[in-house]
C-alpha cells in the first residue's frame, strides 16, 4: 500500500513539475495544446493534472502591486499576479480610494469590476483614481458569478 502511494505521489510530482515548464522567455506563455506535448503535459496526463490542481485548490496569487501618481496627478495602481490553476479564473475586484484622513472617497467607480486570468499565466490589471484627493486604496476580490 505504501509503495503504491509513493508511486502515485512520484507520478503526481513528475506531472506537476513537467507542466510547469517555462518558455525561453518568461514573458511569453505557451499554453498546453499549443506547445509540444511532454511527459507532464499530454492528452493522457493533462486531465489528471487539472484534476489534481482543482483538488489542491490552485488559484490566483498577487505577485506585485505598484502605486504611482500618473501625468494627471491621479493615483494609479497596477496589480500583477499569476493564476496557478489549470483553468481560467474569473474574478472581480472592488477598489475603494482613501483620502489623506483614511476616509473612503465616494465615487461611482466604487464598483465590482471583472478580471480574467488565463490558466497558468501571468495577469495584470490597472486601475486609476478619478480624483487627486486619493492618496491610498483598499482592494477586495470575489469570484465573478456572472461569467461562466
Amino acid at each position: 500500500m505504501k509503495t503504491l502511494l509513493l508511486i502515485a505521489c512520484m507520478i503526481a510530482s513528475v506531472v506537476l513539475i513537467g507542466c510547469n515548464e517555462q518558455s525561453s522567455d518568461s514573458r511569453v506563455v505557451v499554453q498546453d495544446k499549443v506547445k509540444s506535448d511532454n511527459l507532464g503535459g499530454n492528452a493522457v496526463t493533462r486531465p489528471i493534472v487539472a484534476a489534481i490542481s482543482a483538488v489542491v485548490g490552485h488559484g490566483v496569487e498577487v505577485k506585485d502591486v505598484t502605486v504611482k501618481r500618473n501625468d494627471a496627478d491621479l493615483l494609479e495602481v497596477n496589480v500583477k499576479g499569476y493564476n496557478k490553476a489549470y483553468s481560467t479564473k474569473q474574478f472581480e475586484y472592488f477598489m475603494e480610494w482613501l483620502d489623506k484622513d483614511g476616509a473612503v472617497i465616494e465615487s461611482i467607480t466604487n464598483k465590482w469590476m471583472p478580471v480574467s486570468a488565463v490558466a497558468r499565466s501571468n495577469f495584470s490589471f490597472k486601475t486609476v483614481a478619478t480624483t487627486p484627493e486619493a492618496v491610498d486604496f483598499r482592494m477586495n476580490t470575489r469570484k465573478n458569478r456572472k461569467v461562466k
Binding site: 494627471a72 491621479l74 461611482i108 467607480t109 464598483k111 486609476v128 478619478t130 487627486p132
Partner: protein
C-alpha cells in the same frame, strides 16, 4: 372527519403561502446575482466606470495651467432594442467628471436633460422692471464649452447555436474639442452575453 379536512386545508394553505417568492431589496454594492440577457444596472455601472477611469486617467482633460475645461453633454444615441435613458448613463459619468476637478459641465448648451432651460429663461428677465437688473445675468456671461462628450450604445444579436443566442452591447464615448473639432479621447466598452433563445434581450 371535518376536523381532519380542516387541518388538511390549513396545511395546504400554509404550504402555498410559504411558496410565494419573497420580495427583497438588492444589495446594490455587493450584488453577486447571476447575469441577465438584457442590460441591467451592473452593466451600466461597469461601462460607466471603465469609461470614466479611462477618460480621467488619460490626463487628456487636464490643463497644464490648472484651470478646467468647460464640457457640454452631447447626444448619446441608443441603438439597442432596449429602452435606455441615456441621460441616466451620462449623469453617472458627468458626476464623476465634475468630482475629478478636471472639467466643469455646462447646463447652458447640450443635448437632452443636460440643458437647464432656466439659464436661458433667466436672461429673458432683462429689462423687466419687476426684477433688480443687477441680479439678472448680463450679456456675454455664459461660457461656451471647450469640449463635448457624446456617444452611442449599440446592440448586436447573433445566433450562437440552436438553443443559444449571443447578445453584444457596445458602449462608445468620445470627447471632441469644440473649436478645432479634433477628438481628444474615445473609448469602446463591450459587454457580451450568451443565453437561451427563449430569453428576450429587451
Amino acid at each position: 372527519m371535518k376536523t381532519i379536512l380542516s387541518l388538511i386545508l390549513l396545511s395546504i394553505l400554509f404550504a402555498l403561502t410559504g411558496c410565494v417568492q419573497e420580495t427583497r431589496n438588492i444589495d446594490m454594492v455587493n450584488d453577486d446575482a447571476k447575469a441577465v440577457l438584457g442590460l441591467d444596472y451592473r452593466d451600466f455601472d461597469q461601462a460607466a466606470t471603465e469609461m470614466v477611469r479611462s477618460m480621467i486617467g488619460s490626463g487628456r482633460l487636464r490643463k497644464n495651467d490648472g484651470s478646467r475645461y468647460v464640457m457640454a453633454s452631447g447626444r448619446v444615441i441608443n441603438d439597442t432594442m432596449q429602452r435606455i435613458d441615456t441621460d441616466q448613463l451620462m449623469a453617472k459619468i458627468e458626476e464623476e467628471l465634475l468630482n475629478s476637478g478636471q472639467v466643469v459641465m455646462t447646463s447652458a448648451v447640450g443635448s437632452g436633460d443636460a440643458v437647464d432651460q432656466l439659464v436661458h429663461d433667466n436672461r429673458d428677465l432683462r429689462d423687466n422692471e419687476e426684477f433688480d437688473q443687477s441680479s439678472v445675468a448680463a450679456k456675454g456671461t455664459l461660457l461656451a464649452p471647450d469640449l463635448s462628450v457624446s456617444g452611442k450604445i449599440l446592440q448586436r444579436n447573433i445566433n450562437y447555436d440552436k438553443k443559444t443566442q449571443q447578445v453584444e452591447y457596445y458602449f462608445q464615448l468620445k470627447v471632441t474639442d469644440m473649436k478645432s473639432g479634433l477628438r481628444f479621447w474615445q473609448k469602446e466598452t463591450i459587454i457580451g452575453k450568451r443565453g437561451s433563445k427563449k430569453s428576450v434581450a429587451w
